[in-house]
């Protein structure tokens, strides 16, 4: 693949920070940067420069600009780094301006890919990629299994079979004209195609809904009654969502709040107190809690640190668990707590911001997982979208009576797209996905 484009992207994490770095890489990097800064850039020299927007009337920002000539740069190409103020608007304007001068926004992982192709990654980094591929494909398999469960998988298979059947007839009509075989007539092919296309469309709509529901991660609050789960939910969300009372077992239903925790979209679910001696009324609530625990990305187990029994309940023994010791305000002797225990007070707010960080760091992994290309749903949606487009194109070709080989080509592509869902996808794609998703060496 010829890497002739000059690409740009923010190299530091999204969101507010004191400094953001924007990276520009490619053959045009130097000339674009010089136009923007109006400065003769010296290699590997930090220039303090004013970045002007458009006609030069407005200032985007004042930034430190460093030029790394090829091959001694991160990607092995000419690279210019802009260290500007960590303001999302500044970054957005800067990227816009770079694109105006002829750069384009990088696809995720594109910098790493270029670095890889230009031999800029060392052996250990390459091995890290190899490991990622191994684990990535395992993860892909896992998420594919999740997404492929039940009906969805069956429906894709059935659509694929229909498509193959249509293709069989079309291809036979192309390869075996002399053989006196009865291939479907065009009108029948058109009808079947329309039928199949509608089925994909329906499935696509359903799958899309699924994806929206799946976006973000979920955490569930568990613990014995009256350890302060609901208070903690309120403290974390800073909203009076759940009713907080002093009577054990008040929360009978599952209550949740959608919030962002250090930038990660998260659904925090409060459960009925898990008790084994619960009355019949509470049974249902407990059952729901069990389900919520099973499906959660993180189980925040709340313990009343002021009580003598602080052993976590059997029910919530899972590797996804984060133990939180509440009611720090009532605690006098900390010696009974384990080392590094997360001690908070939902009432006073003490330790809450540290808890947020802990939750975020535990969720970070899941959060990135859910957006990986290996996240089957995103990939499947994309494949269906492309399959649909190809089928529509095939239908148009049949409509205008274009040569049959063109519709045949469109349907080949459509099948290839659906084939990606059921398991085959081209080898090079996987590597592309790896580089898009994992920023190796950054």
């Amino acid at each position: 693949m010829a890497n002739t484009d000059t690409i740009c992207a923010q190299a530091t994490p999204q969101g507010n920070a004191s400094v953001s770095i924007v990276r520009l890489s490619g053959p045009q990097a130097l000339s674009i940067a010089q136009q923007l800064t109006q400065v003769e850039l010296i290699p590997r020299h930090a220039h303090f420069s004013t970045l002007l927007e458009g006609e030069g009337n407005t200032t985007i920002d004042q930034a430190v600009v460093i030029y790394f000539p090829q091959p001694h740069s991160f990607t092995g190409e000419d690279v210019v780094e802009f260290q500007c103020h960590g303001n999302p608007f500044v970054v957005k304007n800067l990227l816009q301006e770079l694109c105006r001068y002829g750069a384009r926004l990088a696809i995720a992982g594109e910098f790493s890919e270029r670095a890889f192709l230009n031999g800029k990654l060392d052996l250990s980094q390459l091995e890290a990629i190899a490991d990622l591929i191994s684990s990535g494909s395992e993860q892909a398999a896992r998420s594919a299994v999740l997404s492929m469960q039940g009906q969805f998988s069956e429906q894709v298979q059935s659509i694929l079979q229909q498509l193959i059947q249509i293709r069989t007839h079309i291809e036979a009509g192309l390869d075996f004209v002399e053989e006196d075989i009865e291939v479907e007539v065009k009108t029948s092919v058109q009808a079947k195609l329309e039928n199949t296309r509608q089925e994909i469309e329906t499935l696509f709509a359903i799958a899309q809904k699924g994806v929206q529901m799946q976006r973000g991660v979920s955490a569930v609050l568990t613990g014995l009654p009256n350890v302060g789960k609901s208070s903690l939910l309120n403290a974390l969300s800073t909203e009076e969502r759940a009713i907080v009372t002093e009577i054990p077992g008040t929360t009978r239903d599952v209550v949740y709040v959608d919030m962002e925790i250090c930038g990660i979209p998260m659904r925090l679910i409060d459960t009925a107190g898990l008790r084994t001696d619960a009355g019949i009324v509470e049974q249902e609530g407990i059952e729901r809690a069990r389900k919520a625990i099973e499906n959660a990305d993180l189980v925040i187990h709340v313990i009343d640190s002021s009580q003598s029994n602080i052993t976590p309940a059997e029910l919530t023994k899972t590797s996804r668990r984060l133990d939180v010791y509440n009611k720090a305000d009532l605690l006098t002797d900390k010696s009974a707590l384990p080392e590094n225990a997360i001690l908070v007070s939902a009432k006073t707010g003490a330790g809450i911001s540290r808890l947020r960080e802990q939750i975020a760091s535990r969720l970070q992994l899941q959060a990135s997982d859910s957006q990986t290309p290996f996240s089957a749903r995103a990939r499947h949606l994309d494949a269906m979208r492309r399959a649909l487009a190809s089928m529509q194109h095939a239908q148009q070709q049949l409509q205008i009576d274009a040569p049959m080989e063109l519709a045949a080509e469109d349907l080949r592509i459509a099948q290839q797209c659906l084939g990606e869902i059921t398991g085959e996808f081209t080898p090079d794609d996987l590597l592309d996905y790896v580089f898009r998703e994992f920023c190796i060496g950054k």
């Binding site: 190899a130 191994s134 192309l174 040569p403 996808f425 081209t426």
Partner: protein
């Protein structure tokens, strides 16, 4: 006869003659050894060249200076274009050929080729020294030395003919099988298996009542096969005829199935599913009340005809009864009984993409020995094996055509990567880049490469260059010539271009419209001067109308190019790649793919495994680009 050559070709069939000619054109001193000089260029099966997928191969051979298309032009007695309306990529030329004329044409070209000697002598053994082939030993005990040997022995290796319960060893009806050579090859570490094919009985045309059959004339204007061919090279043209089997035919077959060697279990070899015997057709498609039979003339100077569609190995008496049940054949006389032939082939995954065997350096295989069927498939392999044998001797790099470059590349890649369990025949649906690999652009795809290799003559190069340049010049002119809104009446504009032009358009953009033909530009003299070469116009129109599809296929091609260019060193140790599953490891070690993209096409090799391979090659600094 001198006793040392650069390249020896064993076999004078379609693979052998193309191999011998290509090796000689490549500058190698070449010897063609055949059992029988009279059968050089013999068409053992049906008397036709081309057809869908196959004609693409013929044009590719032609584009690289091969002979099949030229011989077909000299011997073709009925020409047809198949799939005319289904698009240029699947459009295919087919020629009914006079067997004798075809043989003569091939023989004459072979005899006149410099660097090429012919000798009639059966080969019994190979000379192997220092784990390399060094020549052959003939039936007379002659030792002829050469650094490369190309075996193109067709169905002659361990060939066994079946007619009903009778069986005998033979390479083709009337010719001996190569038994000793087969035994010798079976000693090499090559995986041998059996395939079968069949022929129908031949019939005396004087005893046929053609009035009961449909007539199938050839196309007018007369098509031409070779890029260098002319219509006036064609001999007199004749018609084919079509008739059908019927319920009575099927009953005859069903009643005698137990006498068919295929059903009695005498034949172990696997036959082609797309070219079944009439026994197979009747059994597997029991609901069909008739099957088509093409009555193909064998030549202008013979009455013999080839009833294509009823290949059979039933006993002769049943064959008689069978043909007599067919309309028009009631009184016919069988001149030669049909037969099935079972023969050895070598698992083609034992070959490098150059068609050199992996187990014995200097030994090349081409044609049916690799599990293919068809003259065209054989000839295309012969061409590549001939070129590569010559290159091997001169220590030049092997010539490997890509899947995006030629059907020949698709076929060889399929064979060496995936192997085959039935006789391999070309179909257009095998080519993922079908829209790019057309009959009409075989010259544009391959002649420049052939010129670089020095295997096309000056005359062809001149003509090719003219065509290529004319296309480029005219394309440029179409891009730069504009038609203005008021230049045509609304009515004419709608007729010619589909609507009233409301702004200026380049001719190139108008040509992309489905309703616009190049000749429509003749309406306005200021849009000219137009070219009037049919082939040039054809390219301009296809390039314009298929532009979107071409771009997409081109993008796909680019995407896989990197993997294609990543060569895996031949001594590469797959076990050193951490994380490969045992199954993948075994497959890769057995097939030893030439490039990463070939590895990716091996069945069972997962994308993750390919990625691991790429990273590993890169990490060890073993990734090198092919020049």
């Amino acid at each position: 006869m001198q006793q040392t050559f650069d390249v020896i070709i064993v076999g004078g069939g379609h693979a052998g003659t193309e191999a011998a000619l290509a090796a000689a054109r490549s500058g190698a001193k070449t010897l063609l050894l055949t059992q029988n000089i009279e059968t050089i260029g013999q068409m053992s099966c049906n008397p036709a060249i081309g057809g869908i997928g196959k004609s693409h191969l013929v044009r590719e051979i032609d584009a690289m200076g091969g002979v099949m298309a030229r011989a077909a032009d000299l011997a073709g007695i009925q020409f047809r274009i198949l799939n005319r309306r289904k698009g240029p990529a699947v459009r295919a030329t087919r020629a009914q050929t006079d067997r004798a004329l075809y043989r003569q044409a091939i023989r004459s070209i072979v005899e006149n080729q410099t660097n090429l000697a012919i000798f009639q002598q059966e080969v019994d053994d190979l000379i192997v020294e220092q784990e390399r082939v060094q020549g052959v030993v003939t039936r007379m005990g002659q030792r002829v030395r050469a650094r490369a040997v190309v075996l193109t022995v067709g169905t002659f290796l361990g060939g066994r003919i079946f007619v009903g319960g009778q069986t005998h060893q033979a390479g083709r009806a009337g010719d001996a099988a190569s038994i000793r050579l087969a035994d010798r090859l079976r000693e090499l570490p090559l995986r041998v298996d059996r395939l079968k094919t069949g022929t129908p009985p031949r019939i005396d045309g004087k005893t046929i009542d053609y009035s009961k059959m449909e007539t199938q004339p050839g196309d007018r204007p007369l098509p031409v096969f070779s890029f260098m061919g002319e219509v006036d090279q064609h001999p007199r043209q004749v018609n084919c005829h079509i008739t059908y089997t019927n319920e009575r035919t099927h009953q005859v077959i069903r009643d005698s199935l137990h006498e068919s060697p295929m059903y009695s279990g005498a034949i172990q070899g696997v036959g082609p599913r797309y070219c079944p015997s009439i026994e197979d057709k009747v059994t597997r498609f029991a609901d069909r009340d008739r099957h088509q039979i093409f009555i193909e003339p064998e030549g202008l100077n013979t009455h013999e005809v080839y009833p294509n569609g009823i290949s059979t190995s039933l006993p002769y008496q049943v064959q008689l009864e069978l043909v007599h049940s067919v309309a028009g054949l009631e009184q016919c006389h069988i001149t030669r009984p049909g037969y099935a032939i079972e023969y050895d082939y070598f698992d083609p995954t034992g070959l490098h993409p150059s068609l050199q065997t992996k187990s014995l350096a200097g030994l090349f295989f081409a044609g049916q020995i690799n599990g293919t069927t068809g003259y065209e498939e054989a000839a295309a392999q012969g061409l590549m094996a001939g070129i590569n044998a010559a290159h091997w001797v001169k220590q030049k790099e092997a010539v490997i055509l890509g899947r995006e470059q030629a059907y020949t590349g698709v076929m060889i890649d399929d064979l060496v990567t995936r192997g085959t369990s039935e006789p391999y025949r070309m179909f257009t649906s095998r080519a993922e880049y079908r829209l790019v690999l057309r009959e009409d652009n075989a010259d544009l795809r391959l002649t420049p490469l052939a010129r670089e290799l020095g295997i096309v003559d000056e005359q062809r190069w001149q003509r090719f260059s003219w065509k290529r340049d004319t296309i480029a010049d005219e394309q440029e002119r179409l891009d730069a010539t504009f038609i203005q809104p008021g230049q045509l009446s609304a009515e004419r504009s709608t007729q010619l271009f589909g609507n009233v032009l409301e702004r200026e358009y380049s001719l190139a953009s108008l040509l992309r419209r489905p309703e616009t033909r190049y000749r429509n530009f003749a309406e306005l003299s200021e849009l000219g001067p137009l070219v009037n070469d049919f082939e040039v116009i054809e390219q301009l129109e296809i390039q314009a109308k298929y532009a979107g599809y071409m771009q997409r296929q081109q993008a796909d091609i680019e995407k896989t190019k990197r993997m294609q260019e990543t060569v895996i060193p031949s001594e590469f140790d797959y076990a050193s790649v951490k994380g490969l599953s045992n199954e993948v490891l075994q497959k890769l070690s057995a097939i030893r793919p030439h490039t990463v993209s070939q590895a990716a096409r091996i069945s069972g090799v997962t994308p993750a495994a390919v990625s691991l391979l790429v990273v590993h090659l890169k990490a060890r600094g073993q990734m090198r680009k092919r020049a």
